[in-house]
């Protein structure tokens, strides 16, 4: 069997480097502003955590392979090829200390999309055998079992039975021609079963046809996090196949940030063609229902609450206004964090950090940034729309002895849902 080698890694770098990356590397003036934009630096201020430095091996390959001056330098012995030891050293920077949150990408004054480059750099890290254990495990389970957490269909079926029992509604499986195919994340099946119930109620109440797929229910994509297009393609293809087999109009990405990125932005490029269906985040779907008058709520939350914007939704997905529209339907005391919206700070565990045991200490340090934002506000409740953020936030709040419950936006909406007569018929 073939094995992962430095050569394959460097080769992956070479194959990934494109015109945008060459423009980015050509434009960096070492101003250091990306460091100030990155919570892995601000909460743990070591200069090597500056985002641009995390890309140094990739930059060197670009310079040596794709620039005249770099080739000349290499010939004159002024630059050394990237070594396996260096890539091993960079694993910590590229995986443990980056959540692909995209804040540096937004701040960089010359316009460098550093997040895009880190994502691409991980391709080479994987190919050279420098991906972290935790992500390897998650990817393996995702490919072999169908879920990064090892959740199998019977577990979902058990959840479904539970939901059907408590709501009295049918939770359909494999219904061909349904408008929506509902995808889930294992985190929701295992940690937040109330999500499925909430969506079931809302969609059924809105009179929409929807279904789950017994062939593929997992929307998360470990391939995106570990940074392997080969694995990501395998995983996203399963969703595409299920959706096309069931001939649905829209696939709903669950309350998960990177699943949305995987399905909405990377998916079509991984399979090399546009989808035959639309891919939307649940928050987008809910806001559409609201606009169509199919989502009506009653009662208001009295608690002072705020919304944590998941990075993949705001900065990498353009979903900013929708959760606010929804929250304003049900919350009296909705206050915004500083830097809310596209510039919101990451929870500290996105982009594979949560699945990476090596990053456990780091991600709690990174959480301190969120803590500062929350301390400024003094809220009673924290709402978000990403299960991965939610787990990190809950853990961070607990570690820091902050008594703030974290609630999923969909659940909160569902709690205030006005059941339309005949709507569920």
């Amino acid at each position: 069997m073939s094995s992962l080698t430095l050569e394959r890694g460097i080769n992956a770098f070479k194959a990934q480097i494109d015109a945008p990356m060459a423009s980015f590397f050509s434009s960096c003036v070492s101003c250091g502003m990306c460091a100030e934009a990155c919570l892995f630096y601000t909460e743990n201020p070591e200069p090597r955590f500056a985002p641009i430095y995390k890309l140094e091996p990739l930059r060197r390959v670009w310079e040596q392979e794709y620039t005249l001056i770099g080739k000349l330098k290499a010939k004159l012995g002024l630059s050394k090829p990237v070594t396996d030891a260096e890539l091993a050293e960079w694993q910590e920077l590229v995986y443990n200390n980056c959540s692909l949150c995209g804040r540096c990408t937004l701040i960089c004054p010359v316009g460098n999309d550093l997040t895009y480059m880190i994502r691409k750099m991980r391709e080479g890290m994987v190919a050279s055998g420098h991906a972290p254990e935790g992500l390897i495990g998650a990817s393996t389970r995702a490919v072999q079992i169908g879920s990064p957490m090892g959740v199998k269909l019977p577990a979902l079926q058990a959840q479904v039975r539970h939901v059907e029992k408590s709501t009295g509604m049918e939770v359909p499986f494999d219904k061909v021609g349904a408008e929506y195919l509902l995808m889930l994340s294992s985190m929701e099946i295992m940690n937040y079963p109330e999500y499925l119930e909430a969506v079931a109620k809302i969609l059924t109440n809105a009179g929409k046809t929807w279904t789950l797929s017994s062939e593929c229910f997992e929307a998360t994509n470990s391939g995106i996090q570990i940074g392997s297009s080969d694995i990501a393609r395998e995983l996203v293809s399963r969703v595409v196949n299920a959706a096309e087999k069931l001939k649905v109009k829209t696939v709903i990405s669950p309350e998960c940030g990177h699943a949305y990125t995987a399905l909405r932005w990377e998916g079509p490029n991984l399979i090399g063609r546009p989808y035959t269906f639309a891919a939307k985040h649940i928050v987008e779907v809910l806001d559409e229902l609201r606009e169509q008058g199919l989502l009506q709520t009653e009662g208001m939350e009295e608690a002072k609450l705020t919304f944590h914007d998941p990075c993949q939704l705001v900065r990498r997905g353009g979903v900013v206004q929708q959760p606010r529209n929804l929250l304003n339907m049900v919350a009296k005391n909705f206050v915004e964090m500083s830097d809310c919206g596209t510039l919101n700070w990451c929870c500290g565990a996105g982009g594979g950090v949560s699945a990476n045991e090596d990053a456990e200490e780091v991600k709690m340090k990174a959480f301190l940034r969120k803590k500062k934002q929350l301390d400024e506000l003094g809220v009673d409740t924290l709402v978000t729309a990403c299960a991965n953020c939610r787990i990190q936030l809950e853990e961070g709040l607990e570690v820091n002895q902050m008594d703030i419950p974290v609630v999923g936006l969909t659940e909160m909406i569902a709690e205030h849902l006005v059941e339309r007569k005949g709507g569920a018929a």
């Binding site: 094995s3 992962l4 070479k14 194959a15 794709y66 393996t140 080969d230 694995i231």
Partner: protein
């Protein structure tokens, strides 16, 4: 009294042994120059040379007592413009008289003698005043072929070397003698060089200009007579006359400061007397006294007539970009050259771009699908 009218330039009428011993003061007095006029001239000299007015009596005294030195004037590759300039010094003038006061023993244009007689006069003056005479040179010296310029069958180079050997000092008058001048202009067909390029063992005072200002020539001579060799700048010019740029003393300088420039020779700016920088004025890098002493009896200088300075007192001024091209524009700066450069870039870019494309395609071709089996194999090892 005009220089041309003075009989002393005819060798026979000037007793050679008398010249160096006769004091200048007495000579001027004999010629009817009043004490008052003489002091006025000393004042002028003091101001042009930036000497304190307190020193005027000293200058006067020194000049009065100066001995009339023997001067040999050699003309090589030149246009006689320098001599024209001196003879057109506003007359009657004391500058002219100072010039008269020297014992000009040899000068092509001005001497009456010709042929062997002239050359004999030169040989005699050199012999009589060996080590003491002042050698004035105008014109450059051709090195490519000695035949390009000869006098009485003697090449300029030989004549210069011979005359320089016995000179106390050399005054290189005009830009040709000082720096090669027009004959040296690209492509320098005669291999013209300056006096200083050949003579290395004598003090040389460069009095460049095309032509030099008359009062500067006489001023330098006066300085030499009174205080000896003047202080020179890095280009061998007396600092007293060449210490400031035309730009520094230009009456249009305020317009430069305010950023008001004539764009053409007949626009409103030109009529309003705005700065001529954009019309090619070389004033900022040209060192001469034109802006202060002016020309034609203090009438004006070129910029006052509406034309930029062409930088004639600077080496290689002829090749200093176009006369009408702004100083900041290098000769090679043109859209055409930029397009050529871009074409070179495109050619090289296409080549290196093709290499990059191939390199990237090769890398994509070498890609082996990453499998979870491989990942796990790696993580166990």
């Amino acid at each position: 009294m005009r220089l041309g009218e003075i009989p002393i330039i005819v060798k026979d009428e000037v007793p050679i042994e008398g010249a160096p011993t006769s004091a200048l003061g007495a000579y001027l007095h004999e010629r009817g120059v009043s004490r008052r006029d003489f002091l006025k001239f000393c004042g002028l000299l003091a101001s042009t040379m930036a000497i304190s007015p307190a020193l005027i009596p000293k200058i006067a005294e020194a000049l009065e007592n100066a001995k009339r030195p023997s001067v040999i004037w050699l003309s090589f590759q030149e246009c006689t413009g320098c001599t024209e300039s001196i003879t057109r010094s506003h007359s009657p003038s004391i500058e002219g008289l100072i010039f008269d006061a020297i014992s000009l023993d040899y000068h092509h244009t001005l001497q009456a003698a010709s042929g062997y007689g002239a050359e004999e006069a030169r040989a005699e003056a050199m012999k009589e005043n060996y080590g003491k005479y002042v050698l004035v040179v105008d014109g450059s010296i051709p090195l490519d072929n000695p035949g390009y310029s000869t006098i009485a069958g003697i090449s300029n180079l030989d004549m210069l070397k011979e005359a320089a050997a016995g000179a106390a000092a050399i005054v290189a008058v005009g830009t040709c003698a000082a720096y090669g001048g027009l004959p040296k202009a690209d492509p320098n067909p005669t291999g013209a060089v300056s006096v200083a390029d050949i003579i290395k063992d004598k003090p040389i005072i460069n009095v460049p200009g095309c032509p030099p200002i008359p009062v500067v020539i006489t001023g330098v001579i006066a300085h030499f007579l009174t205080f000896g060799l003047p202080e020179l700048d890095s280009l061998g010019r007396p600092k007293a006359f060449y210490g400031q740029s035309i730009h520094d003393r230009c009456y249009r300088r305020p317009f430069y400061e305010r950023g008001l420039f004539a764009e053409t020779f007949d626009d409103e700016g030109a009529k309003a007397g705005w700065c001529l920088y954009k019309l090619g004025c070389k004033g900022p890098v040209t060192y001469n006294a034109c802006a202060t002493t002016k020309w034609n009896d203090g009438t004006s200088f070129p910029i006052e007539s509406g034309h930029g300075c062409i930088g004639c007192s600077e080496p290689d001024f002829w090749d200093f970009g176009g006369f009408y091209q702004a100083l900041s524009i290098p000769p090679g700066a043109s859209g055409k050259n930029a397009v050529y450069a871009a074409a070179v870039g495109i050619a090289a870019g296409v080549a290196i771009g093709a290499m990059n494309k191939k390199s990237k395609a090769d890398a994509a071709g070498l890609h082996q699908t990453v499998t979870v089996e491989e990942l796990n194999q790696e993580s166990q090892s």
